[in-house]
C-alpha cells in the first residue's frame, strides 16, 4: 500500500484512488474469493457505517419535513417551512459566511501547506520522519486545550499583546480575539496537518526525475511546477482541501471559543437549534444543507481527480 493510504483514515477520501482503472479492485475481489468471505471482511465495517452513520442520517433527513413541537420535539405533520427558512437572509447569510470562512481557511492552508509538504518530501529520510511527527504532534494534546491556548495568547492581556507592548510596537492591547480572522486562525491551526499529510504523500510519490525531465526540455522552475508538479499532485491537493474544508465548515467549537460565542458559523447555528431552541426539524434542515454542500464538493473532487488521474509516473 502506498503512503497515501496509510495516512487516510479508513473509508475517508475517495479522492486519490477514484481515478484509477478498475484493475486493482478486481484483483482485490478475486483475492477475497467467495461471497461469504467477502461478507466476513466487509461485514463489520458495513455494520458500523449502517448503525452509526446511515441510521442517524436517515433520522435527521426525516426530521426536515416535519414541524417542531411547541415545547421542542417533533410534530409529525408534513411541511416545507424548514427549507424556506433556510433562505431567510438571517440564516442564509450565516451558511454563506461559513462557506467563506471554510474556503478561506482551506486556501490559506493550501498556500502554507504546499511548500511545507514539498520541503518535507525532499528531506533526507531520517529528517522526513522527524518532520512528519512534528506535523502531527499537536494532535497529541486535547483539541479544546489547544483552542483555549489561543484565547490565552490572543486575549487583551494575553501573550501576544504583552509581547507587542513590551517591545513597544503598540501602546494599547489589540483586539485580537472574537473576529473572523481569529476563527480562520484557529481553524487553520487545527486542520493544517490534515492539509500537509495528503500533500506530502502526493509529493513524495512524485518521481523527481519528472521535474528533471522538464528542466532538461527547457522549462524554467516555475513552468515545471505549473505543468508537471502541480497537475501530478492534484489528487493530494484535492484530498487535503476536502480534509480541511469539511471539518472547518461544520466546526462549532472554534467559533464558539475564538469567535465570541455568537452564531457566526453554521455549526453553532445547528448546535443552537438542537440544544437551545430545541427546533430539531430546522436544525436538521441546516445540517442537510451542509451535507449537500459537502456532497457537491466530493463529486467535484472525484471528477477532478479522474481528470488528473494517471497513476503512472509516481513512485509506488
Amino acid at each position: 500500500m502506498t503512503a497515501k493510504h496509510d495516512l487516510a483514515p479508513p473509508g475517508a477520501a475517495p479522492g486519490p484512488t477514484a481515478g484509477r482503472p478498475p484493475r486493482r479492485s478486481s484483483r482485490r475481489s478475486r483475492a477475497l474469493g467467495t461471497a461469504g468471505a467477502r461478507l466476513a471482511f466487509l461485514g463489520p465495517g458495513l455494520g458500523y457505517l449502517f448503525v452509526l452513520l446511515l441510521v442517524p442520517l436517515a433520522l435527521v433527513l426525516s426530521y426536515t419535513v416535519f414541524r417542531r413541537g411547541r415545547f421542542g420535539g417533533v410534530v409529525y405533520e408534513a411541511t416545507s417551512e424548514n427549507f424556506t427558512r433556510l433562505f431567510d437572509p438571517l440564516y442564509f447569510h450565516i451558511v454563506l459566511g461559513s462557506i467563506k470562512i471554510a474556503a478561506l481557511t482551506t486556501l490559506v492552508a493550501l498556500l502554507l501547506g504546499y511548500p511545507t509538504a514539498y520541503a518535507i518530501a525532499r528531506l533526507p529520510r531520517k529528517w522526513k520522519t522527524i518532520a512528519l511527527v512534528a506535523v502531527v504532534l499537536p494532535f497529541w494534546t486535547n483539541f479544546l486545550i489547544r483552542v483555549y491556548a489561543w484565547v490565552i495568547m490572543l486575549s487583551g492581556p494575553g501573550l501576544v499583546n504583552e509581547a507587542l507592548t513590551g517591545i513597544g510596537i503598540i501602546d494599547k492591547p489589540l483586539e485580537l480575539l472574537y473576529n473572523q480572522g481569529t476563527i480562520v486562525t484557529g481553524l487553520l491551526y487545527s486542520y493544517l496537518p490534515l492539509m500537509i499529510l495528503p500533500l506530502y504523500a502526493a509529493i513524495e510519490r512524485l518521481d523527481p526525475q519528472l521535474g528533471e525531465a522538464s528542466a532538461n526540455l527547457g522549462a524554467r522552475p516555475a513552468r515545471t511546477f505549473l505543468s508537471v508538479t502541480l497537475p501530478l499532485t492534484m489528487p493530494g491537493i484535492l484530498t487535503g482541501c476536502v480534509f480541511v474544508f469539511v471539518p472547518s465548515l461544520g466546526n462549532f467549537v472554534i467559533p464558539e471559543i475564538l469567535g465570541g460565542g455568537r452564531s457566526i458559523m453554521v455549526g453553532n447555528l445547528i448546535r443552537d437549534q438542537f440544544l437551545k431552541a430545541r427546533d430539531y426539524p430546522f436544525g436538521s434542515a441546516l445540517a442537510l444543507a451542509v451535507i449537500a454542500v459537502l456532497i457537491v464538493l466530493l463529486f467535484l473532487q472525484a471528477w477532478a481527480s479522474r481528470v488528473y488521474g494517471g497513476t503512472e509516473g509516481r513512485r509506488g
Partner: protein
C-alpha cells in the same frame, strides 16, 4: 559521417570534460574523469553497474554538480548554465515520461518551451513521431504503451529539440533482445540522419561495440581506456579492460624480450613494448588460438560447445587455473578428453602492465 578512422583532419571537440570528480559520502562516483567528446560522434560510456556512468550524464545535463573539475561545450563553460538552458537533452534510464500528457504532448513539451509557433510545433512533433513509428499512438498516454513504445517516445522527446548533444542512459536495457537489435539499428540510423552528437551509456559491451565510434570504459569512477571498439578489443590497455571486453584468456607473469614469462607455463609469445621484468598480463582472444600439435601450451579438452557458426573448446592446461578458451569456425572434430596443443602468433597477443 566523417568519422573514417584514417581521416587526417583533427576532429573538433564538442564536450571537454576535465578532471571531474564527484563523491557521495564515502562513495567516489567519479574520480578525476577526463574525456573529449567530438562533434558528431557516437560516444559510448561502458562500465559495470555503479561505476558512475549515470552520474557523469547527470553532470552533463545539469542535475548534478561535480565537486571539482570543468566541463566545456564548444569551449564555453557548461557548468555555469542551469539545466534548462543547456543545449543538451537526456533520455532517462527510466524514460521519465509525463504520465498526465499524451505522447504528442510529451514530445511537444520541449518545443513549446522554446516558444515556437503552434504550427511548427505540431509539424515537428508529427515528423519525429513518424521517425520513431508512433504516429498512431500520438493520442495515447504513456501507461497505455508497451515498454518499447515508451522508450521510443522518450527518444522522440529528446531528439525533437535537435540538441547539440544527446545523452542516452541505458536506452535499450529494458527491451528484449530482438526489439533491442532493431532499436540499435534505429539509433545508428538516426544519428546519421540528424547529425547530433550521441553519448550513450551502457553496461552491455556488445551494444557499445556495435553502436559507438569510440568507447570510454569506466571502472569505479575512473576512465580505464578510451578507444575505437576494434582497438579496445584488440589492444586492451589495462587488466580491467582486458578482462571486461569480450572473452579473453589471461596469463600472469613478467614481461621478457619475446613475450611473457609465466611461472609454470614457460615463455608465452606476445608483442612486447614493456620493459623486461615488468609484472604483466598476457591476453589472447579465443579466436586467435590455434589447436594442434606443437603449440606453446598443451592440455586436455574439458568441454566442447557448438554454437552453429563457431565452436567453443575449453582446454585444461596444467599449471593454469582457468581453462583456456578456444574458438574455431564451424563444427570441430575435437572431443572432450583429447590431448591438444595450443598456439598463437605473437602479434595476436597483448601484454599489459599489471
Amino acid at each position: 559521417m566523417s568519422a573514417v578512422p584514417e581521416a587526417p583532419a583533427v576532429p573538433r571537440t564538442l564536450v571537454g570534460i576535465e578532471g571531474v570528480s564527484r563523491r557521495f559520502g564515502d562513495v567516489v562516483a567519479l574520480d578525476e574523469v577526463s574525456l573529449d567528446i567530438r562533434q558528431g560522434e557516437f560516444f559510448a560510456l561502458l562500465g559495470p553497474s555503479g561505476c558512475g556512468k549515470t552520474t557523469l550524464l547527470r553532470i552533463l545535463a545539469g542535475f548534478e554538480a561535480p565537486d571539482s573539475g570543468a566541463v566545456t561545450l564548444d569551449g564555453a563553460d557548461l557548468l555555469a548554465r542551469p539545466a534548462h538552458r543547456r543545449p543538451v537533452n537526456l533520455m532517462f534510464q527510466s524514460y521519465a515520461l509525463f504520465p498526465h500528457m499524451s505522447v504528442a504532448k510529451n514530445v511537444a513539451y520541449g518545443l513549446e518551451r522554446e516558444g515556437l509557433p503552434r504550427g511548427e510545433v505540431s509539424s515537428r512533433v508529427a515528423e519525429v513521431l513518424a521517425t520513431v513509428g508512433l504516429t498512431e499512438q500520438a493520442g495515447r498516454r504513456p501507461h497505455q504503451l508497451s515498454g518499447g513504445q515508451r522508450q521510443r517516445v522518450a527518444l522522440a522527446r529528446a531528439i525533437v529539440k535537435r540538441p547539440r548533444l544527446l545523452l542516452l542512459d541505458e536506452p535499450l536495457s529494458a527491451l528484449d533482445k530482438k526489439v533491442r537489435a532493431e532499436m540499435q539499428l534505429e539509433l545508428k540510423r538516426l544519428q546519421h540522419e540528424v547529425g547530433i552528437t550521441f553519448v550513450v551509456v551502457t553496461h552491455d559491451q556488445e551494444e557499445a561495440m556495435s553502436l559507438a565510434d569510440r568507447i570510454a570504459v569506466l571502472q569505479a569512477g575512473r576512465v580505464e581506456q578510451v578507444d575505437a571498439p576494434v582497438r579496445l578489443y584488440e589492444r586492451p590497455g589495462t587488466p580491467f579492460v582486458a578482462g571486461f571486453i569480450g572473452a579473453n584468456n589471461l596469463f600472469e607473469g613478467t614481461a621478457v624480450g619475446e613475450g611473457l614469462s609465466a611461472p609454470g607455463l614457460g615463455t608465452l609469445p606476445a608483442q612486447g613494448g614493456l620493459a623486461a621484468g615488468t609484472p604483466a598480463l598476457l591476453g589472447v582472444r579465443p579466436e586467435s588460438i590455434r589447436l594442434g600439435a606443437g603449440g606453446v601450451l598443451s592440455g586436455v579438452v574439458a568441454d566442447v560447445s557448438f554454437y552453429g557458426g563457431v565452436s567453443h573448446i575449453a582446454v585444461r592446461v596444467p599449471g593454469h587455473e582457468r581453462p583456456v578458451l578456444v574458438a574455431t569456425q564451424g563444427p570441430t572434430r575435437v572431443t572432450a578428453g583429447a590431448e591438444v596443443g595450443l598456439g598463437w602468433s605473437a602479434s595476436d597477443a597483448v601484454l599489459i602492465a599489471r
